[in-house]
């Protein structure tokens, strides 16, 4: 692999995870805030809220994981390595 390709791949791998973490981070914060509010209003619904929250957090986390998959491909299975 020539040096330009490897440098660009490493940079892109970092960016893929870093930028991909912003959106889900905001989303998870909003979701957790909403869940806390819901529990404060209705403490008896805590079990149901927790279950739904965990499931939706995992969905949001999946978005970052897509970025991670892209960066893993760039690092370990680079299609441009030639």
């Amino acid at each position: 692999m020539d040096s330009i390709t490897s440098a660009a791949s490493v940079l892109a791998a970092g960016l893929a995870v870093g930028l991909g973490a912003i959106g889900p981070g905001i989303g998870q914060g909003t979701a957790a805030g909403g869940a806390v509010e819901g529990i404060a209003r209705q403490p008896e619904a805590e079990g149901k809220i927790r279950g739904t929250l965990l499931l939706s957090l995992a969905f949001m986390e999946a978005l970052t994981i897509y970025g991670l998959v892209v960066s893993l491909v760039l690092l370990f299975a680079n299609p441009f390595a030639g």
């Binding site: 965990l54 499931l55 995992a58 969905f59 986390e61 999946a62 994981i65 897509y66 991670l68 998959v69 893993l72 690092l75 370990f76 299975a77």
Partner: protein, 239 residues
């Protein structure tokens, strides 16, 4: 990868290749999936051999699992059609769950392979893509067998403008299903491996527990989404 770890080698993209004709198979994935399937079969056979009216031990565990999966399938697919799809959803959930936990809990390092290493079968993209494509086939079959060609009305409801989006959705469903599972499991293994490389004692433990937790949730999500897609396909519009 240049890391040489005491407990597990951090290897991405190294496999034990088996040649079958023109194909290169990832042997370590086959071996670990067979172990997982064998463990599940053994559990079920042991649990159902001497069934009693009042369940104890393994039978109790199996009945609990059956209840849990039935509720999951019934919630997503609906009262009418869930019985046909409960075995499929249950198999998906149990296979993914046991693979994920087996990959983290069984000391695979003790079994030496000529190249590559054993691990969770779901940490290989081929396994997860196969499972996701099975889900795609399943929901097409579910929709077509229940509604016939009227299934395709779903693509133009509520308006025909939705048609391109619904068609794209058919491709993104298996893509996101497979990448979500693969990425999460591989990420768990990588995080634990990197922490074990930096600090071999105690410190990786919380990450391992988090890994167990997320792997269980991922199995649940995969099964829930599969059931949801099937439920969407068999759902009858109330006119």
């Amino acid at each position: 990868m240049p890391f040489n770890l005491p407990l597990a080698e951090l290897e991405v993209g190294k496999h034990l290749y088996w040649k079958v004709g023109q194909l290169n198979l990832h042997g370590q994935v086959f071996l670990s999936s067979w172990i997982v399937i064998g463990a599940l079969l053994a559990l079920v056979v042991v649990g159902t051999r001497k069934m009693e009216r009042e369940p104890r031990g393994v039978q109790n565990l199996l009945e609990f699992l059956w209840d849990y999966l039935r509720d999951l399938a019934r919630d997503q697919i609906g009262e009418k059609a869930y019985r046909d799809w409960l075995p499929f959803i249950g198999t998906l959930f149990l296979f993914i769950f046991v693979s994920n936990w087996g990959g983290a809990l069984i000391p695979w390092k003790l079994i030496h392979l000529p190249s590559g290493e054993l691990g969770a079968p779901t940490a290989d993209i081929n396994t997860t893509i196969a499972l996701a494509l099975l889900v795609s086939l399943a929901y097409f079959y579910a929709g077509l067998s229940r509604k016939g060609l009227r299934y395709f009305e779903y693509y133009v409801e509520p308006t025909p403008i939705m048609l391109p989006f619904k068609i794209v959705e058919d491709f993104t469903k298996p893509l996101s299903l497979s990448f979500r599972l693969f990425g999460n499991i591989l990420a768990d293994e990588l995080v634990v491996a990197v922490l074990a490389f930096l600090v071999p004692l105690v410190v990786p433990l919380p990450a391992m527990f988090l890994g167990l937790f997320t792997s269980a949730i991922q199995a649940l999500i995969f099964a829930t989404l599969a059931a949801y897609y099937i439920g969407e396909a068999v759902h009858e519009e109330q006119h």
